[in-house]
Symmetry: C2
Subunit: 276 residues, 2 copies
């Protein structure tokens, strides 16, 4: 496995690759990331993982400074799974002041976008930059960041990128907690409580599968359960799985998405719900 | 020379090309365009010319509907100069509603951008789409559209595009009138008058080369000359040639840019001025 830190070095390495599959990450890798990398292997013969904490997608009051940077440990985990690690510095990827951006679609102002203004602009911009650096045939994104996946799919489609976007299922702990770098911020007590977000999503799925259609009541019940256990809920919302528009009454392919604060940690999760 | 109308057909044709050079145009080709294509030939072995009148870069009161579409004549002119013509329909290039855009840099709100809101957003977006379709090694843009060239250079640099941007000198008629598709809108009387825009730019260049530094007075004199001959001036401005920021007092590399209406036709021109 090779590790490259600059764009020219990476391009030189990839100039003789046949089918490149790309997994962009912010590092601090856990099994969820490694599952993305394993899936990437099935889609090409040169797996490139980028490790870059992108300042552009963090708000001024968010955790950019404290976001864990663990490059050596990350590379050790990727050994045998990836072919190339691309770990640029901020100056490598932003050599000049970034004054041009990708303007994301309207859906980027809802859900997480409502609470993290500028987040998806930063995500779409850095992903486009990384795509242009790596020039992959395919790229893997996790459904854990479901709204991000929708934005990236729109990016690829609307900008005519010759890149296949591969969606990976969310990796979960045995108790179903979605794996996330931010789980590392949780205290031991919070780790036990954290599963309540998923449990409420699963409750909504069961209710829908049992024939309930009162979306607002289901959302409100989940929100109430979380808030009564000390969570601060950013959103909890049933949406069309393809467009992320609010779910219509007769929707068959839904996704329920939630974001909520447990102490000082913001957790997100979602669950696709296909109705027969 | 091959003519392709769809993205898949073009990609198939280019999959075996070695060094692609790309010249994006809106068609209605004149000798100025053909000079861009001749220059392209020096930068690669497969010259692709796109012909596409991009709705996204026209304002609601601009000449999108009446912009001349002359594909057969254009292809006849390109025979022997280009290898591939790419002439997509709007539905070919915008198969889904475009809800994501390239947000251009701040300089895009000045000069032409002040008078054509959204123009450079539309230009940058379609050029990025075309770049992703054609995937050229180099692309040629004329200095005639000087501000557009600056936006495209920023696009390539800031989005890490692996594309060399080649700038072509402005092609001019024997009387120095810059070649432009919009010259075709001029009446015979206007065609004689049209050269006054360039003459005023040249007058400013001579004054600067003779030691004048009173930019405001030079700009005002040119504007006055045009207005007294019936022109309506959008802007006439001395700028830093690299950044397009207003020219500093001791600037050595300047460009003077003008845009003005002669009757119902909006003409633009510019002149680089390098001082010793």
């Amino acid at each position: 496995m090779e590790i490259h830190h600059t764009v020219p070095a990476l391009r030189q390495r990839l100039s003789w690759a046949t089918r490149v599959v790309f997994v962009p990450t912010m590092g601090n890798l856990h099994e969820g990331h490694l599952d993305l990398v394993r899936l990437a292997r099935k889609h090409g013969d040169c797996v490139v993982v980028s490790i870059f904490v992108n300042p552009l997608q963090f708000g001024p009051n968010e955790d950019y400074a404290q976001y864990p940077r663990t490059l050596d440990a990350d590379c050790a985990k990727l050994e045998g799974l990836a072919d190339v690690v691309f770990a640029p510095s901020v100056a490598d990827l932003y050599p000049v002041e970034q004054t041009m951006f990708v303007e994301p679609p309207p859906l980027a102002t809802e859900l997480c976008g409502e609470f993290r203004p500028g987040h998806f602009r930063g995500v779409a911009t850095v992903v486009l930059k990384l795509f242009n650096v790596v020039q992959p045939h395919a790229a893997v994104f996790g459904k854990k960041d479901y709204q991000q996946l929708a934005v990236i799919r729109a990016l690829a489609e609307q900008f005519n990128l010759p890149i296949e976007i591969v969606a990976a299922e969310t990796s979960r702990a045995p108790n179903h907690l979605a794996l996330s770098s931010r789980n590392g911020y949780l205290s031991e007590a919070e780790r036990g409580e954290a599963i309540r977000l998923f449990r409420n999503l699963a409750t909504i799925r069961e209710a829908l599968q049992s024939g309930s259609r009162d979306y607002a009541a289901l959302e409100q019940a989940a929100r109430g359960d979380l808030e009564s256990h000390g969570w601060r809920v950013d959103y909890l919302s049933l949406r069309n799985a393809a467009t992320l528009a609010p779910a219509a009454p007769e929707e068959r392919n839904l996704v329920v998405l939630g974001a909520a604060w447990l102490g000082k940690t913001r957790l997100i999760d979602n669950l696709e719900i296909a109705l027969a």
